[in-house]
């Protein structure tokens, strides 16, 4: 179970490679890996948002991501989880969050991965601010899906 909060851009696929390479005890044990990557989109409705700043409450973030992962492990038979979340300045096409679940079977990995992102979005203390030139505007709510 690994949780990372990163202040710089990351490549989700390289992080997954690294995680598996660093956990050789998992090899041959998992049949199913479910992954979700949330990425910053372009703003193509005419607004010229250039970037976002993602603020968080570090001690609480760490604690809540840990709690969410632990809760997932109590609900499903999971071998390992990896959670990576960005903070700080984020640009279009940057990965914001990576969630991965390794399990013997896909009947565990799929719902656990979905659970992680839904819980993270509703509970983890992160706040997005859109930046356009000199203008900064707080995002007031997450969309449900």
């Amino acid at each position: 179970m690994s949780i990372k909060l990163l202040g710089e851009a990351f490549d989700p696929w390289r992080e997954l490679q690294r995680h598996q390479a660093g956990n050789p005890q998992l090899a041959g044990k998992y049949g199913a890996t479910s992954v979700f990557v949330g990425t910053m989109r372009d703003f193509n409705d005419g607004a010229d948002v250039e970037r976002m700043v993602l603020e968080h409450y570090p001690a609480m973030t760490q604690k809540h991501l840990q709690a969410i992962a632990t809760e997932a492990r109590s609900r499903w038979e999971i071998l390992d989880t990896l959670i990576i979340h960005r903070f700080g300045e984020i640009h279009p096409n940057d990965a914001i969050v990576l969630l991965a679940v390794w399990s013997a079977h896909r009947r565990a990995s799929f719902p656990a991965c979905r659970y992680l992102i839904e819980e993270l979005k509703s509970r983890a203390p992160f706040w997005k601010q859109e930046i356009s030139g000199e203008d900064a505007r707080w995002v007031t709510h997450n969309t449900p899906g």
């Binding site: 990557v37 703003f43 603020e55 609480m60 979340h85 992102i117 979005k121 007031t140």
Partner: protein
């Protein structure tokens, strides 16, 4: 001997500070901690509260050494529309 009060995101900008240190005698609940730290300002309706990093209600007890945080609805993650 103190209670630490923290403000995040838009609420930090609204109250004009990111942190206040209170004498524990000034607040027995999160609500009282808010009032003491903001000079009696009204708490916005959608404010979330955490006492020692756990979500709590406005009437949650606070005591010496606690950290009380106030913040707007969370907007982390990815994979959704921002506007």
């Amino acid at each position: 001997m103190s209670i630490t009060v923290k403000f995040f995101a838009s609420l930090r900008e609204t109250v004009g500070k990111d942190e206040a240190i209170l004498d524990p005698a000034r607040a027995q609940t999160a609500q009282q901690a808010w009032e003491a730290a903001t000079d009696g300002r009204e708490m916005p309706a959608n404010t979330l509260i955490a006492v020692n990093m756990e979500y709590a209600g406005a009437d949650a007890a606070v005591t010496d050494g606690d950290e009380v945080a106030f913040f707007p609805p969370v907007t982390g993650g990815g994979g959704d529309v921002l506007r």
